[in-house]
């Protein structure tokens, strides 16, 4: 294939970095991604820091427009630049012996990382597969790009093995079929197989089950959980469904309007949610145990990303807001070594407790 003998672009020297903690796969440090549009600067991601330890699932929760997808796209460097631009911060990827700052990588050398070290599962399996190539061809391409010297027989065997791994039974036939011949759940399995093909260190799953039915969602989540342990990878799970997070993730990050408002282990977040937004999200979910007549709802809308205020972005929708909240944007304060929250009210309560 055309890419087989392509020369590999060298990795720029300034892209090398040092991990803060070698047990992390990925460290995001004060990442700022801004979009320069005609209407002004959209601070889609504005100074977020998070770590993804080895072999763990980190869930990123937030509503549409909170910057969770932009975060994942900037790790993969798939954002269109311009209008987007990584204005500041580091995205350090642990490669075992050394580390790379993905924020400083150039376009060509990023090809060596995508798919091989970091892979992505997109929301819509219907649109992330190419309709004019067979499933087999699309799976092979990913492997060939990173291992051009692989033999034909080995390649075919590998593809069939991958499909078996994701629970597709008639894999010899499926290899020859086109995406439209498969159902939504099957397509998402193929996309997962594709992400696994080079055994990446990190898999970014951007709303992997949102487009699927509940019963199929249950199958896919089960599969992802099983595979994570099998190939020892980390998963960055982006979702707006707190139920999915509770089930899959070990660490949770809650984002609002481009910033992290709360982060912690899954137990801390669900047992002791501190930020009013996190609490609101939990109460707003219609659940079986929630027997009250009316659903709790967070009034108002997510603020417009252009011209955000200087104070807490959630202030206008917050029920617990106080005088202090009109001060400058609250910093993330550690409550426990793992649990952090950025809210004046929550911090005050904590000090008193």
């Amino acid at each position: 294939m055309w890419f087989k003998n392509r020369e590999k672009a060298p990795i720029a020297a300034e892209a090398s970095a040092n991990m803060k903690d070698s047990s992390n796969v990925l460290e995001i440090d004060d990442l700022k991604v801004h979009f320069f549009t005609d209407d002004g600067v959209v601070k889609a991601v504005d100074g977020i820091s998070l770590d993804i330890p080895k072999n763990t699932t980190v869930g990123i929760v937030g509503e549409s427009g909170c910057g969770k997808s932009v975060t994942s796209m900037s790790i993969m460097r798939l954002l269109q630049e311009p209008p987007a631009s990584i204005v500041g911060g580091e995205i350090r990827l642990n490669l075992g012996d050394d580390a790379l700052d993905l924020a400083k990588m150039n376009k060509d050398s990023m090809r060596r990382i995508r798919g091989k070290e970091v892979a992505m599962i997109f929301q819509e399996p219907m649109t992330s597969l190419n309709p004019v190539f067979t499933i087999g061809e699309q799976l092979m391409e990913g492997i060939l790009v990173h291992r051009p010297d692989i033999g034909n027989a080995e390649l075919k065997g590998k593809v069939i093995e991958l499909l078996k791994m994701v629970g597709i039974s008639r894999s010899e036939e499926i290899v020859k079929s086109y995406p439209h011949e498969l159902s939504g759940g099957m397509k998402q399995r193929v996309v997962i197989a594709m992400a696994l093909s080079c055994e990446p260190r990190l898999i970014i799953a951007d709303e992997p089950t949102t487009a699927l039915d509940v019963t199929i969602q249950a199958q896919v989540l089960e599969l992802m959980r099983e595979l994570k342990d099998r190939i020892h990878t980390s998963i960055m799970l982006i979702t707006h469904d707190l139920g999915v997070v509770a089930e899959m993730a070990e660490m949770v990050v809650v984002m609002y309007a481009g910033r992290i408002v709360e982060q912690g282990t899954v137990y801390e977040i669900f047992e002791n949610p501190l930020h009013p937004y996190t609490r609101g999200l939990m109460k707003a979910r219609p659940t079986k145990d929630n027997k009250s007549k009316r659903l709790y709802s967070i009034e108002g809308n997510v603020p417009s990303p252009v011209g955000l205020p200087d104070y807490c972005y959630f202030h206008n929708r917050c029920e617990e807001s106080e005088e202090d909240c009109k001060n400058e944007y609250p910093t993330l304060v550690s409550v426990t070594p793992t649990h952090k929250v950025s809210c004046y009210v929550a911090n005050k309560e904590n000090k008193n407790a």
């Binding site: 939504g184 019963t215 089960e222 139920g243 509770a246 219609p286 009316r294 659903l295 967070i298």
Partner: protein, 325 residues
């Protein structure tokens, strides 16, 4: 027909022909909806639940005659909907029966200010005198949580939740007796979803509306519905009061649906019933009980004889061989 039901649907069928062969004749039918019966009580909410492709949307559309039914009967307030001619339909039925669609981004005309969009059907049906039209529109908007200065704005200026409010206002402006809501909240964020659900509940109390609520999300259904019908491949497999259905789901499919909903509690990594494989194609559904290919309790009889749809007490109807036929 009992008077306390606003809508009665009997044996509703909708088949789509599949063409094939050289001369493109009809080779077989896709039985998208195959004999569905239910009724919606006055001021009550009936929910139709099921996976994509089970025919729930088709049910909603055929009742409004947006697609023509193949068979069956439907009565709105005692009037036979399927026997009416288009003119009568427009005059007698459509004003009383309104629809809210899933995608608020696709169901509003981008070139018409929202005030006009809400006003239009009221004007067409001469529901209020011309002079009061503007006042009436603004009043409806207020009830749906839309400030009056929104009336002159265009749909693109609004967020998803606001647009869904506009769609609700447009449906409500006709003072309908029944609103068919086809997945009205599934395109919205959680916090906005709660606002819309509360709005729908408030309006129901205020105007005595009835809803036919079509959804795949059982947690939302539990919140809104009074009665629930679970659909699988074109037929209702279980039907009961909301409380009864959620407390005592009888059909294995209902149980699987219920257990598939993720629970926001990290301590409860529960055992769930994971259904094998996907929903079969409706053009070639399994024989006898359509669910037997995925059912964890499938028995030999399930692939031979279709189970009867029977009442097992208190209006809890199930079609399954697990229970005495």
């Amino acid at each position: 027909m009992p008077d306390n039901n606003i809508l009665v649907v009997e044996e509703l069928k909708k088949y789509y022909p599949l063409k094939g062969g050289i001369i493109k004749h009809t080779v077989k039918y896709v039985k998208s909806v195959d004999g569905v019966s239910f009724s919606v009580g006055r001021g009550k909410t009936f929910a139709l639940v099921g996976e994509s492709g089970c025919g729930k949307t088709t049910v909603g559309r055929t009742i409004l005659r947006l697609t023509e039914p193949t068979g069956g009967r439907a009565y709105l307030d005692g009037q036979d909907i399927f026997r009416m001619r288009q003119k009568e339909l427009a005059k007698n039925i459509r004003p009383k029966m309104q629809m809210i669609f899933q995608d608020p981004f696709a169901s509003l005309n981008p070139r018409i200010p929202v005030g006009e969009a809400i006003k239009e059907p009221v004007r067409a049906h001469r529901l209020v005198p011309k002079e009061e039209l503007m006042e009436y529109t603004l009043d409806i908007m207020k009830h749906c949580g839309l400030p009056s200065y929104f009336a002159g704005r265009y749909p693109h200026e609004f967020s998803g939740g606001q647009r869904q409010r506009i769609c609700i206002a447009r449906a409500l402006a006709m003072k309908p007796a029944l609103i068919i809501a086809d997945e009205p909240v599934s395109a919205l964020d959680v916090s906005i979803q709660a606002q819309i659900i509360n709005l729908m509940k408030d309006l129901q109390e205020e105007y005595g509306l009835s809803y036919l609520f079509i959804s795949h999300d059982l947690s939302v259904v539990e919140y809104l519905a009074d009665e629930v019908g679970v659909m699988y491949l074109g037929s209702i497999v279980e039907h009961a009061d909301k409380e009864e259905l959620f407390r005592n789901p009888m059909h294995p499919y209902t149980r699987a649906l219920l257990s598939a909903v993720p629970i926001a509690d990290p301590y409860r990594k529960m055992k769930r019933i994971v259904l094998g494989s996907d929903i079969p194609s409706p053009s070639n559904p399994p024989r006898a009980c359509k669910f037997h290919t995925r059912c964890p309790h499938a028995m030999p009889i399930c692939s031979e004889i279709a189970p009867k749809y029977k009442d097992y007490g208190g209006g809890h109807c199930v079609a399954c061989h697990l229970y005495p036929q």
